[in-house]
Symmetry: C2
Subunit: 666 residues, 2 copies
């Protein structure tokens, strides 16, 4: 089966392209010495966090490795390890690229908008290509070696475990630094954002990378790996080797489409960088749709059309959920403007309006998911559901590139401010930064949508694996698995599963509170104790703030991690396979709803504040603005910590359940 | 079957006891002329709201009546109408009793604490006995006439429809008045709570009755009716007439137990009214447990023990969920004190801490539900699940009495303030009022817990009815209904069902925002335009504020009502019976979680503010207190509008599904 080798080759192609982009970015001028110093500090902070995080996860990884080795032999254990390591490598590659290119983007902004866009987008594309390339290479490579999709599911578990900690740890890090920097620096000391006198400023800039690049990258790496493997598992059961091969080819097509589409991302001096990035996304989508039809009919003949429809459903979910997210969070649209309006009667009405908007924003995306599932299933059976997820995820190379561009542009603006480069440079970086905010919102929608479809694909694969477990043959009716919803055990599973996301939301929200509290104490201490810090003659101790964020993030990610990994195992072995199926369904539904609620509420609070800052309702300095700032602060952990934690939560529950499916005994 | 007549006799007994209590309360002195005037204004406002609400619901009721008549003949239609009318009668009886006894409680407080407790508790017990009495009389009477539990399910649907509107309308009313009175009166004009110069003060006092008495009463009337009927339906399928008779006898036992236990509610002058009320609840629980064992073994022989265990599970859920609610919301406990602590760094951290606390508070109750379901099912099969619900609900007479006492005590304090009766009277009413806050929290826990168990009983009954539908025989495997969770249609149902509570939360929260906005405008207008209002020489126009709250509540309850009633029907007929089963499961899980989250977050914000007002962190007038006030205002619609709306939402979805179960065709 020579076609099988196309997938690892495409993976290698993506990695080669990532290496080329990286070297081309590094060959750009890094700016003056001050800029280089700041950039270096951010780079070191980011690496310190990654090193500490991965080091903390080593014992955890080793324990799981040994358990898997003991339970099932070396194949599962090795796959797990490779998954975890690939996720870590993608994290390092992406973070190096984004933190090495922020000052270079600032420098490029001195020349032209297009050049600045070009540098920052290429930096983001390193992450995108690393995610897709390592994902496809890892999955296809392990399949070529072991020839068993069940074994390599453990690769997804490895990716999952890392992703959960990266998302949660990154989310706590970024918000602790952000809240600490803002509350003491901006509010108490009255110095502007990104001011070098603020001791937490480097931690804040590191946080942008840790949250949006490493966290998002690990999240989508996990979705990519889990979806591909779930599709292979289901495909293997239904279509044999063809069913396994096809998702790998779609992955390869996605990589080629993303590489070709990067050349569409360019703009003129007075052009719109958003339009350039949109061209990249649309180019990828269209190329994938065309390739799906070709590959589908080649491999499945007449059935190819239905499978293509399922893939296009996934692409449509991508576009639609992005557009809905933008509608509910953009400050050009009614929902966010209504929150700004409600800020006139104070913070309470602002908060109520934001919560209501977030809750309301969940409905249309859920209906979109339902329609996509319905069409995909009707067109191509349960394989269709996996294919919808695959259609969405195979564009991850481009989506991660567009998303990772955001923190680069954000950092570039910060460096322009800290290095005092003057307003015209800042204007260019601000233009990029504001585009970055929109792409971040769209990427959030993508991450949630892909997590939902991935979780469903995992759920479906879980059902298939349960059906093969000889100890569970009692659950089969005419050879098909039946999990009867009207049995109390299943309902209990749904109840407990739906509770898990609420609990993890609570843990992560409290974690931000604790971490921010420590950060506030440290920044206040430095302002009090370091002489000349406000006059710019004393140097703040940036490293200690970076250290506090890092330690707090690592410490606080443990409890939610324990619940995420532990509860499915407990439910599966104590309440049985049926209850675990209910648990997964409940966790997925509630997790997706809370992710949408939290992300969109947070995004709309943020943009309501920005809307007022454009001068509406009196602009900055008014009680209305103060109310909106409070809403924005409430929204910080909503949108950047608890909301994003839902994605890996529902996927990690799914991958663990898949792993333990053969071991369940009732 | 002579035993059957015990149930309507017990219902009549409850109503006779209610009439006795009412006349005994009315024979108490109504106080001086000023007190009578205020009380009369509250009474008129409450009746105006009830009249307008029920009048608005007439067209809706007629349409449903005609549809049921057309589809299924007079039996279903008549049952529906009787259910709706019984709910309305209970509402009128309870509201008359509580609003006629507030000034009498104030007057009694001049004599002794015990007398004040006695008057206010008897007033609440009128509502409690009306709810239980009309519920049992209606259900058993219709059964004696029609001899078919399927037909009388429509009684529950009638109660459900009214309950949803009463809860949502009442919730919007009470918070619009409260927020309006507080924001303009307390914050802007600087006058104390319950000050007669505040134009919204009567609306605010009416709101206490409309929300806590009429809303809660209708909610529990619905739970009572729906649970009894679901138990009869399941019992009929499994045990024939004995299975139908038993829940009716348990209901009768609950009424007798509650009547006997009212005599335990008395206190001394320096006694603790809370302990007196607790004695009433515990007395009822113990008597019901003993009676269950007797009746269970009499009717089911050996199986009686298992059924008794299931009933005791329901009683235990009652006690445990109440205790957990108190833990997460009382200002003596760590969670609420932590919110007070977080208020020191401003409103944002206060809000985050409250949200986190609310989210976290969902976990233990959900585990309690899961354990209760598990034990009840293992002890007595699916009948056991209905019996757990029945055990919880048969104590409703006492629980509603204890809950309805709250608004009477609250109003009594308001009247003491408005009639300028001096601090020693206020001290007595404050003591009762503070007990009322605790019992309200416990009653909220009871309402949520009973809604959860009722929804599960309805879900189980729905499964039984689906299994009997000949058009759906394809869903049967060996004669048993199978709703396979691993089918995409079922998953879609769960997704859409879980979304409904999020959407209804959003609607109701926005409704409070709009209604409060109108109220704020009106109160401001009166302060501006009525001469001498602040000096006490000009009389505020109370009626216009009552009118605004009423109109807004009626108008804003329509959209959520439409979604609550319409979505199960659409899902059932468009996506089929299996998807509807998924829908109910998803709606129940998400609805219960959101109810717990919203109620407990709101309760803890409220009490965190009160904790600070006892002098902690500097007490009133500090920025810490101001932050806590903002959290409390955010919590108002959480705990009194959106959270409570979840209970009837999940039940109305269940009763409608039961009604349409015989009509579904795939």
């Amino acid at each position: 089966m020579d076609l099988l080798y196309i997938a690892p080759l495409a993976g290698l192609l993506a990695l080669a392209f990532a290496a080329y982009l990286m070297s081309s970015v590094l060959s750009e001028s890094p700016g003056n010495q001050k800029m280089q110093e700041i950039s270096q500090a951010i780079f070191e902070g980011a690496m310190a966090f990654l090193n500490r995080q991965y080091k903390t996860l080593i014992p955890f990884t080793v324990v799981i490795f040994l358990i898997l080795f003991y339970v099932d032999g070396y194949k599962l254990a090795v796959s797990f390890l490779v998954g975890a390591i690939c996720s870590a490598i993608a994290g390092y590659a992406g973070m190096t690229s984004t933190t090495k290119s922020n000052a270079r983007t600032t420098e490029a902004a001195r020349h032209s908008l297009n050049k600045a866009l070009n540098v920052s987008f290429r930096a983001g594309a390193v992450m995108g290509m690393s995610v897709a390339g390592l994902g496809l290479l890892g999955v296809s490579g392990l399949y070529i070696i072991f020839r068993d999709p069940v074994v390599i599911n453990s690769f997804a578990f490895g990716a999952s475990a890392i992703a959960f900690f990266a998302r949660v740890g990154g989310g706590i890090y970024t918000k602790a630094a952000d809240v600490g920097a803002d509350l003491v620096g901006k509010v108490e000391a009255g110095i502007p954002e990104d001011d070098p006198r603020n001791p937490a400023v480097i931690a804040d800039n590191v946080g942008d990378n840790v949250g949006d690049t490493a966290g998002m990258g690990a999240d989508l790496f996990e979705s990519y790996a889990a979806t591909t493997i779930a599709a292979m598992l289901i495909g293997n059961t239904l279509y044999g080797i063809n069913g396994v091969l096809f998702p790998l080819l779609i992955g390869a097509a996605g990589i080629v489409a993303a590489i070709l589409s990067t050349f569409l991302v360019r703009t003129s001096e007075d052009g719109d960088p958003q339009a350039a990035l949109n061209r990249g996304i649309w180019g990828t989508n269209i190329l994938v749709a065309v390739a799906s039809y070709g590959l589908g009919t080649m491999i499945f003949g007449d059935k190819g059309f239905g499978i293509t429809v399922a893939i296009v459903c996934g692409l449509a979910v991508n576009v639609l959920v992005g557009a809905i997210t933008e509608y509910y969070t953009s400050n050009n649209k009614a929902p966010t403007q209504h929150i700004a309006d409600a800020s006139q009667t104070g913070p309470a009405t602002n908060v109520i309006a934001g919560v209501a908007n977030g809750l309301r924003s969940t409905a249309i995306p859920m209906v979109v998911f339902a329609i996509a599932i319905w069409i995909s299933f009707n067109q191509a059976g349960i394989y269709g559901i996996a294919m919808a997820a695959m259609g969405m995820l195979c564009t991850a190379g481009m989506v991660v590139a567009v998303d990772s561009f955001g923190p680069v542009a954000d950092n570039a603006g910060g460096i322009a401010e800290m290095a005092e480069l003057g307003p015209e440079i800042r204007k260019t970086t601000d233009k990029l930064d504001s585009v970055g905010n929109t792409t971040a919102a769209i990427a959030k929608g993508f991450a949630i949508g892909s997590a939902a479809l991935t979780a469903l694909a995992l759920f479906t694969a879980f059902g298939e694996e349960i059906a093969k477990n000889p100890k569970l043959s009692g659950l089969l009716v005419n050879g098909h698995l039946v999990v009867n919803l009207t049995e109390p055990g299943v309902i209990i599973g749904i109840f407990l599963g739906a509770t898990l996301p609420f609990l993890v939301c609570a843990f992560t929200m409290e974690a931000v509170g604790k971490a921010a509290f420590e950060m506030i104490g440290e920044v206040r201490r430095q302002f009090r104790e370091i002489p000349g810090i406000m006059e710019g003659t004393g140097r703040p101790d940036y490293a200690s703030c970076v250290d506090i964020s890092t330690k707090a993030a690592i410490r606080e990610m443990m409890l939610p991690g324990l619940f995420a990994v532990g509860t499915p195992i407990i439910v599966g072995f104590v309440l049985g396979a049926k209850a675990l199926a209910g648990f997964l369904a409940g966790a997925t539904a509630a997790g997706v709803l809370l992710a949408l609620f939290m992300s969109n509420a947070g995004g709309s609070w943020d943009n309501a504040k920005k809307y007022i800052e454009t001068g509406k309702y009196g602009g900055k300095g008014t009680p209305t603005h103060a109310a909106a700032v409070i809403g924005d602060t409430v929204g910080d952990p909503f949108k950047d910590t608890s909301g994003p934690a839902m994605n890996p939560l529902i996927k990690v529950a799914g991958t663990i359940s898949l792993i333990i499916a053969p071991l369940l005994f009732f």
